[in-house]
Symmetry: C2
Subunit: 199 residues, 2 copies
Amino acid sequence: MAYRETDLVRQRKVAQKSGLLHTAEALVREGGFGALTIQAVAEGAGVGVGTVYRYFSGKDELATEVFKRATSREVSAVREALNGSGGPAACLAAAAEVFAVRAFAAPKLAWALIAEPVDPAVDIARLQYRKTYTALFETVVQSGIVSGEFAPQSAALSAAALVGAMAESLLGPLDSPACDADTIAALRLFCLRAVGARC
Amino acid sequence: MAYRETDLVRQRKVAQKSGLLHTAEALVREGGFGALTIQAVAEGAGVGVGTVYRYFSGKDELATEVFKRATSREVSAVREALNGSGGPAACLAAAAEVFAVRAFAAPKLAWALIAEPVDPAVDIARLQYRKTYTALFETVVQSGIVSGEFAPQSAALSAAALVGAMAESLLGPLDSPACDADTIAALRLFCLRAVGARC
DNA sequence: TGAAGGTGTGAATCATGATTCACTTGTTGG
DNA sequence: CCAACAAGTGAATCATGATTCACACCTTCA
């Protein structure tokens, strides 16, 4: 033989794949999953459509990977806020703020992650994501209940409702393009009241 | 001339159109807007695809009309609950319950109406719908604030958040297929706490 | 009854976007 | 430099579903 994959090539491949994912996410970020087409990804990355298939078995895989990447970033950010110092109320407030700020920064992306994607393959990933998210909030709510800071309640339902409340209040009225401090403050208060925290 | 549309014909046409809409809604009800194809509507109604086009200029019009019909029914139901006797808190609780029961009865439909439909033409209608819904809740929240029953707050944001909370807590965990009384109770409490009503 | 003016039909055509593949262009190591 | 083996390419092909349209079949009424 006379060919063997060298380190340089391996690096290039990684870079290429990463570039494709980056381009793909940019598309989702500005147009949701509906804007994610192989053609657009190839064009945006400056390669041929066939190349995309060298790195992903099909659209499903690409879409799922984009979803998972974006998702884990969001979840991490919120998780960090939830694990911050301070009691459950402070953590919940911080998490709401993080969620709000990030959603404002990339509304289309947030929407694409939370709302139902067209692709059934992504659906599985999405379900997992929502559960993770909800579970995260459920933990704080639960600890708040235990510590007596929050009212007794169904932590699971409250967690889901909190996620929904944040999503809707931020993404629902698509008219407001700016990251309004008043909106964030109002959202924080809503969340705290909702779990029965003393304000 | 020798032809003029008679009353009988007019009646038939109305019935035909109504039947098509009925079939179309049934499809959405069980598979979301993604399942709404002209082919399926024609087949379900027992007519040819061409016939569908005699009654609707295109898919957009059909989808929009289905959306508007279902929507106005939902809005009416909630509006009625909100306008019931009793104070803001009672009305809000009643509305949440109506919303919950209806969403449980037709989860896919509720999801299709609330979540982003694929079709951009329906989007306009959807935006209108969400606004109507939110406005409805905003009114009660506002009156609750005025009467002192609810805490001072941004009625607009709270209204949107309430809608989101209800939607997510009911549609999010798609695992629970039954209309659980506990869930409804928990949701009602969540909503009341969220607006700062004394429980 | 027959001409006028519908309505019903569904195969044919378009449009969009995913996927393939024969081929071109690197890279590597002898 | 050459043979071996990938990666890159994009026109061609498929798949799905909307839309058209020439034609068949009713209704009406002089």
